[in-house]
Symmetry: C2
Subunit: 283 residues, 2 copies
């Protein structure tokens, strides 16, 4: 723990009130989520600018470095210092990053819902990933997860237009919930938290409000998480990658409804539970 | 027109049927949208890999080159040839691209809903953009646009999990509708179509099912379109950029509802029309 990086704990307003006119010309004020640039400097070298809500900039930076495979071990990071005055985060590594030029050279512009940028050969890594076969998710735990997300306070409820990600224990206890304007930023931030705290993914459940596209599934697999749940749907490649890594993929999780798409052997149906949760209105 | 680039017209399946189990363990088959890599080669040099639905690969490639400001004029492009066999598109320019290395060096990883990658200094260009002040959008035309999108056949209706963009005339006539798994790809594809056909944006209306984040507003402004409509919401920077370029921004456009966020002077309220369109059920 003496090697734990030194982190700032920068905070900044996450919503803004703006005046609007509705269809009847009525004036009102609504909240919209913040979106701001955060330029990442690694050992004083500019790496990238992330557009973010700003809720968890340190975790986002850590997760980005991890998911882009730019830093191999959390121990290599000495410090993460966010300064919203200048919209920058200074990352200091203990021994520098080997051939960062080469590592950031190749771009795969992915489409979670935009053109997410993933450097390197993430796809190639997928085949090396082995998710725990013995892990199980019961239907009642799934409902606990969905209900926890439904009732959790969020920027989404205040202002809309953000995506949320939640990391849950095998029992459906919410461990971390992070929102961002970009769903890839939200998942990266969760990855940063897991990396920082040495949280293993093998017995965890991951929930995202975003779609299960290839990049989301790959990131979930890289975090070693066998269960990936979404309120939204999936794409052909998201589905294909999930099957390839043997991930249990559940889409359209709202209220009592869900669609189990892959890794069915890890899911435990509980018919007796199905009608036992009146609190779960369909959404 | 002799300078018009030679385009392939590659087509490929846009949905896949997959077997799922629902909350009662019932087996069924659903359609999910395709998502596949398209690697862009410019004059035999690998540029980027876009993850796409595959509905309009030639337009996507053109729009990507344009919106990333990698090619200044459509006349500079001799040929766009897509080959789904290898998931690649070969772009041939007439005289090569000047310092493409430098132009693609700086990354801004934006968050439409992911980490969209925009090379160069797009933000800087915003201040040079002047959108036509005289353009007007009437409430009835807005409703025509929303209804056209609502009734247009789409992959979204078949399979969900894609975003759609529509380009409309000042009278609310649908000119082009393109869907993609990434909303940035969809808008880039529309930009490609406009570039190819020399369609000016000044008297057009642009509709997207995606959120109005900074990158979406910037791209709309770069296309010279004064009216940007969305079924979804906006973010602080999307709103700020719209105000800066004087764009008329309308969010939450569903049924008869909408929120006018900026550029109010271009919008013409028509109270008399408000109750005149029974066909427009709230969505």
């Amino acid at each position: 723990m003496s090697r734990r990086p030194l982190l700032s704990s920068a905070s900044i307003a996450l919503t803004e009130a703006v005046e609007v006119l509705d269809e009847r010309g009525r004036r009102s004020t609504i909240s919209i989520p913040a979106e701001r640039p955060l330029t990442v400097y690694v050992d004083k070298r500019e790496l990238v600018t992330l557009m973010t809500l700003g809720a968890a900039p340190e975790m986002l930076t850590l997760g980005y470095l991890r998911n882009q495979r730019l830093v191999r071990s959390i121990d290599d990071i000495a410090s993460i210092q966010v300064d919203w005055q200048v919209g920058a985060v200074a990352v200091t590594t203990r021994e520098g990053i080997d051939n960062i030029e080469a590592r950031t050279a190749k771009r795969v512009v992915t489409t979670g819902c935009g053109q997410g940028s993933v450097f390197g050969e993430l796809m190639d890594e997928v085949d090396d990933i082995a998710l725990p076969e013995a892990a199980r998710l019961t239907q009642s735990t799934l409902y606990r997860v969905v209900d926890a997300i439904r009732t959790h306070p969020s920027i989404y409820k205040q202002a809309g237009s953000v995506h949320g990600c939640g990391l849950f224990s095998a029992e459906g206890e919410l461990l971390t919930f992070i929102e961002d304007v970009g769903r890839h930023n939200a998942v990266d931030s969760i990855a940063g938290r897991m990396w920082l705290d040495g949280i293993a993914g093998g017995d965890k459940v991951f929930y995202t409000t975003g779609r299960l596209t290839s990049e989301m599934v790959i990131k979930g697999a890289q975090m070693g998480i066998p269960f990936l749940l979404s309120r939204s749907g999936t794409t052909q490649m998201g589905h294909t990658v999930a099957q390839r890594v043997g991930m249990t993929l559940l889409a359209r999780c709202t209220g009592k409804h869900f669609l189990l798409l892959s890794g069915k052997e890890r899911f435990v149906f509980e018919p007796e539970w199905f009608d036992a949760l009146p609190g779960l209105a369909a959404r």
